[in-house]
Amino acid sequence: MSAATRLTNNLLLGRRTFLRVSATVAGGLIVSLHFDLPLLAQEARRADSPPKVDPPNAFVEIRPDGKIVIMVNRLEFGQGIQTALPMILAEEMDADWSQVIAELAPAADVYKDPLYGFQMVGSSSSISHSFQQYRELGARARAMLVAAAAQRWSVPPAQCRTEASVVHGPGGQAARYAELAEAAAKQAVPATVPLKDPSRFRLIGRGIRRLDSRSKCDGSLKFGLDLDLPGMKTAMVARPPVFGARVNHFDDRDARRIPGVHDVFEIPLVRGTGVAVLADRFWAAKQARDGLKIDWDVSAVEHPDSARLLAKYRDLARTPGKVAASRGNEKKIDTFDASDRIVAEYDFPYLAHTPMEPLNTTIRFDGDRAEAWAGSQFQTADQAAIADVLGLKPEQVTFHTVMAGGGFGRRATPDSHVAREAATIAKRFRGTPVKLVWPREDDVQGGYYRPMHVHRVEIGVGPDGMPLAWRHVIVGQSITAGTPFESLIVKDGVDSTAVEGTIDTLYDIPNFHVSAHHPTVNVPVLWWRSVGHAHSAFVMETLVDELATRAKADPVAYRRKLLKADAKKLRAALDLMDQKSATWRTTLPPGHAAGIACHEGFGTAVACAVDVSIENERPRIHRVTIAVGLGLAVNPLGVESQFQAGVGFGLTQLMAKGAITLKDGRVEQRNFDGYTPPYIVDAPIAVDVHIVPSSEAPSGSGEPPVPVISPAVVNALTRLTGRRYRSLPLVTV
């Protein structure tokens, strides 16, 4: 929110208050429409709770110059929601798209996800949860503008029509939204509003370019790390070399000699303790932090070690875990001879998210209130955590959502550890804005990784080559154990984020049994884009390919045969992919092979074909054809973009240096030299994306590109080399 340009007079707003007239500091009138929560979230709010102080201009502001500011109740960090949600609202409002400005909403009750009751980005839920919400917001705004025009002209509202921010009357009258806004603000808010028939959509379903492109191409867009507030200082923290360890004592004499260093002091962390440095500038803070001589007590914490964990996980995978899914006869698998049985063991390392913009949070503590700036996927949690550290109520913390340079789950931490660290430091320097920065080394070594996993699968193959029995054991830390999400996500001892993509497979396997072990390990873990689906789909789709090969069947035809009859969305995606890639798949040059994978997750079905050869002992991905079923595609250009690039992100897990490993408690990688995500040569050269036509409710496109790509590439590699690839990263091909 550009609070400086608006009078935010913190009015106590009633539940049904929708419109606000506020003044700019320059004196001009701004009329804004304020909408309260949709019904579902309102019911969730306790009737006896006091009315909340919401910012004005909650979702739409019509400026006198015709600009229409639409507030986005999500973090934008690349996924394109900052364009897609305004499209939906502008569609129903009949706003002139060329005049639309999108702003990221601060933390506030009105901006909570209407279904989760929590302000967040995750699970590809933004469009599916806010589609109806933003349509209704737009339709209400339009209805009130029409009512104002009808009143002015003394005509029935039904005889007015709207287009491009203008209301047209039956007698040829016309009025711009900007000139009607003040009168519209005085209209009653309609309890129900009709929504457009989709055949009348002008924006939804059209490929619309991003609203944030230009400012991201000319260097003008300010990310969190670019914030520069008067008197601001930079903070960095020396964290323990083994997670949870504590400072014994430290020598800060060298650090304090560096010009621009203000203070060095020990702080409590979410895990263990650390030493914080406050300096004028990044470089001074980094030099000082790196120069600290700290004696750590690492004796009281477990020293995780990747090699030892792997051995332990493999042993665990040979024993049944907590039951996650069970269909048919669990013992059926034991009736198969070795010749009719596939036994496959997979292992996946810890993975870091490494968003391009290093983690950071800025906080200024003013005693009875505070202001925070962060590119957060969990505004509600981070705001509450900052308040908790500072001894304030959440509403005393003005929390600005700042555009973030990627995230992929890393900015959605249930323990809000970055926000807490920043608040802990800011509390000591009242009135001074403190920008806490995690340099890249801190990010790579700082934990909150995708958990390491082992999958062990036994498959009993019938005489027709189809799987008759499937026993699957998954070993990996629970992401949500010990967090507020545990009660929602862990059921009967199974964390669904570890087994998703396996237990809900759309393949029809009559005797199907999945169980899970969740060992406790001293490594903080977190959801990594597509969460459990990325490793689960790798296992499922490479095994199904192996089954197809064994049955001497075409991999597409085999999948079609194996899919459940009601897997309509995935079947349609598979069919479309087949149709769009059949020609090139059958005319590949020597040394190339095609690989196939399909998967459904987060309500979105994806099928993928890749053209792969081997160059310099690495997979070279010449082409990818994607077909995606996600209901109505709100912005097909955005969907295409998410898939073209998202498959590249998914390739992280195949990179030769795509692993975080620990040796005796210490992370072995430090930066992009040791943990290396895909560069241009590693990514597909071309990706064509085809959307299955649909008018059904939309699902998301942030997570779904990731799971399919790795198994498709590996399935192609297997065709080229005859080898099976079951241990990631892909160190050798």
């Binding site: 670019d226 555009m403 590249g648 560069y679 990514a683």
Partner: protein
């Protein structure tokens, strides 16, 4: 502390900093030009790419004391640059960006490439863009936009 005279985007600037301070942090914190980004600090991601004496350079590993008289060009100057504005327009036209954090660095690398090689081949693009990391992996559209910018430049030259 020492004083350095720099030429940034054609403007003379003077800064008083520790001689070891990387050019990146002089730009970002002394000159308040935050279009040049910090991503790794070890020249492994390219988010900090600027042109130093006309050469695409990772500003995170160049101490300000070694810049000397070489002119510095940053992303903030690209809208006025004869090649830069074509590249930026192609980037917008092709809807390249996602999170956008690396794109200033990507564009600086492309502009240097197209100034040296107006019609780069597939291999040229991979070679000169090979060190620019995009964690969103927008590489498909980066390739398309480079080709489009190259074509636009060629058409402009013909006119």
């Amino acid at each position: 502390m020492a004083t350095y005279k720099l030429t940034v985007n054609g403007q003379p600037k003077e800064v008083a900093v520790d001689p070891a301070t990387p050019l990146l942090w002089v730009l970002r914190e002394e000159l308040k030009m935050t279009g040049t980004k910090y991503g790794c600090g070890i020249a492994a991601c390219g988010a900090c790419t600027v042109h130093l004496g006309g050469i695409a350079t990772r500003s995170c590993v160049v101490p300000v004391s070694l810049v000397a008289a070489r002119p510095i060009l940053t992303i903030e100057a690209m809208a006025e640059d004869p090649v830069g504005r074509f590249v930026q327009d192609a980037w917008v036209e092709h809807d390249v960006v996602q999170c956008g954090y690396c794109q200033g660095g990507q564009i600086m690398s492309v502009v240097a490439l197209l100034k040296a090689m107006p019609k780069p081949t597939h291999a040229d693009i991979e070679e000169s863009m090979g060190g620019n990391l995009c964690r969103c992996a927008t590489y498909v559209r980066i390739r398309e936009a480079i080709k489009a910018a190259s074509q636009q430049l060629e058409e402009q030259a013909r006119r």
